[in-house]
Each structure stands twice: as C-alpha cells, then as structure tokens.
Point group: C2
DNA sequence: GATGAAACACTCTAGCA
DNA sequence: TGCTAGAGTGTTTCATC
C-alpha cells in the first residue's frame, strides 16, 4: 500500500511540504512531477498525510507558559475515551496521550500566561472523573515538536 | 512587530499552509495577494514561521510504539542544556521538555516497534548523567500534535 | 503600509499515450 | 509512469491612495 517511493516522498514532506514536485521527483528517483502529484494526493486521501501546517515559534509569539499536565483518573481504563475526549477539548491543549502506569493521561498545553493556564486548570479541577492532576511548567523547550528525525 | 493581521494570517497557516494568498487575503481583510506574500515572507525571516511540514498519521505507517519517557538526572539545573542536547539527538525523539519537579525531562518518542524503542533505551541507560528513567507506553493517542485550538 | 494591475516564472494537475 | 497543455499561484514592480 505504501511503497518505498511513498516513504521517500513522505520523508521529504514531513520536513518541508513546500518542495516543488519536480525536485521531489529528482530526490526520490521518480522523475515526473505528475507521478509525484498523484501519489501525494493518494496519500492525502488515505489520511496518511493528515495536514499541511506551518509550525510556529510560540515563544516568539509570547507564549511563555508551556506546561505538561499529568492526570490520574478515578475510574479504570474503559473511561479513557470518554475522559480523553473531555481533555482534548480543553483550551490551549496541543496533545493528549493515554498512558499505562500510575499516571493515566499526559497533556501538553501552550499558554500565553498564567491566566490562560489557570483557565485550563479550573476546567480540569471541575471534572469529577479526575482524581489528581500534577502540572509542570516547562522551563526549557529543548526540542520542539519535530518529526524530522523519524525514519520511515 | 506582529500585528493583528499577522496573527490572523498565522492562525490560518498553522491549520493549513496550503491556502492560496488570495483566499487568505479575503479571510483576514487584506485584499491584495502581494501584501499577504510580503507578510508571510517577513514572518519566515523572523523565524516566527519555523517550517511548513506535512503532519503524518504515524499509526497508519505502522508506528505502533509511541512512548513517553520521564527522565531524572543526577546533576542539578545547570546541566539541563548539556543533557538536553544529548537527549534530543537520540533516535526517534519528537520532543524534549525540561520541567521543574521530581522529573527533569519529558521525552516523546515515536517508534515502529519494541526494537526501535529499545534502541533509545539502550542509549539512555548508557548515559551516566541519568539517575533514573521511567518509560511509559502510549495506549491511545487521544489527541495527536495539533495546534489548531491555540488562539493567537 | 495597502491596493490593483500587469508581467513573469514557476507549479500543479487532468487527459492521453 | 511520462508527457504535454492549460489553469492556477507566488513574487516583483509600478503608480496610486
């Protein structure tokens, strides 16, 4: 379904989706732009390419309150989806993972300031499915979201 | 430096960077494509737009071993940058955050399988600056990396 | 600093071999 | 898949507001 050419195309696009089709062709060894075009559109249809987005420097935009929240819930695994859906619709939430262990959810949030952050915490603490939440301020973003090192 | 128009442009681009300039113009209320073009290029120069990338569905590409690693180091804060640099160059690492509290670093990794994951853990355990690491398998990705809910 | 127009090169894509 | 033709897109320049 996804062959070696597709993988090479994806490797380029996940780092930079503004590369001309012609140039992609050269790099992957498929020299017609139309062939690349058709493959990319197929990958979008199949949902393998989910989106093409601009990654922003949120610190430069004065989002200085990045935090990671660890959530422990009252109920067991079956509630993962239900509680998960509530968590992911909280404001300023970038990612939510359900993990196994003493912590149930890990949430990444990007906030402009403490007030924004407290807005999340207020909603979080009002959810009675939640037993306990630990929120940690990110002191340094050592590596921002970046999939370039992933080898397909 | 970044005005309301820029913020509106960024709001569009962080969700979809493939929107024609003309259409962006209509949406933000700046009706010439050339004005939008100049602003976007300025935002790139300033590093506010870091990259334009394709977001992929890694689960569909059989990356079934997503994990979050909590790292506690032996040394104090000053080592954050040094150890951080080592951590971010580990294979298959998507993000690294230095946080305050009992855990020092949170690492997000995306792996195809257990072997790939163990490759990271091997390198991690061989670093003597690290006191302890807890790795958690992601059971469900409730919300994958997505900045669309962030209000600029 | 924005607009609209014009000109140009570049880019994408549909149809067909 | 490759080729080609036509439509669409981004960028620059200009006069004007």
């Amino acid at each position: 379904m996804v062959d070696e050419f597709d993988r090479r195309i994806l490797t380029i696009l996940k780092n930079d989706c503004d590369v001309p089709l012609k140039e992609i062709g050269k790099k992957v060894g498929l020299f017609s732009a139309s062939a690349i075009s058709k493959r990319i559109n197929k990958l979008k249809e199949d949902g393998i390419i989910k989106k093409q987005v601009a990654l922003l420097d949120y610190e430069k935009l004065n989002f200085d309150f990045i935090s990671i929240i660890f959530v422990k819930t009252k109920y067991h695994k079956d509630y993962a989806q239900i509680i998960g859906n509530k968590l992911k619709s909280l404001p300023n939430v970038v990612a939510v993972f359900f993990i196994l262990g003493d912590i149930d959810f890990v949430i990444l949030t990007v906030n402009r300031n403490r007030q924004d952050f407290l807005r999340i915490m207020e909603k979080l603490t009002s959810m009675d499915e939640i037993e306990r939440s630990d929120s940690r301020v990110v002191a340094y973003t050592i590596k921002d979201i970046d999939f370039s090192s992933i080898e397909l």
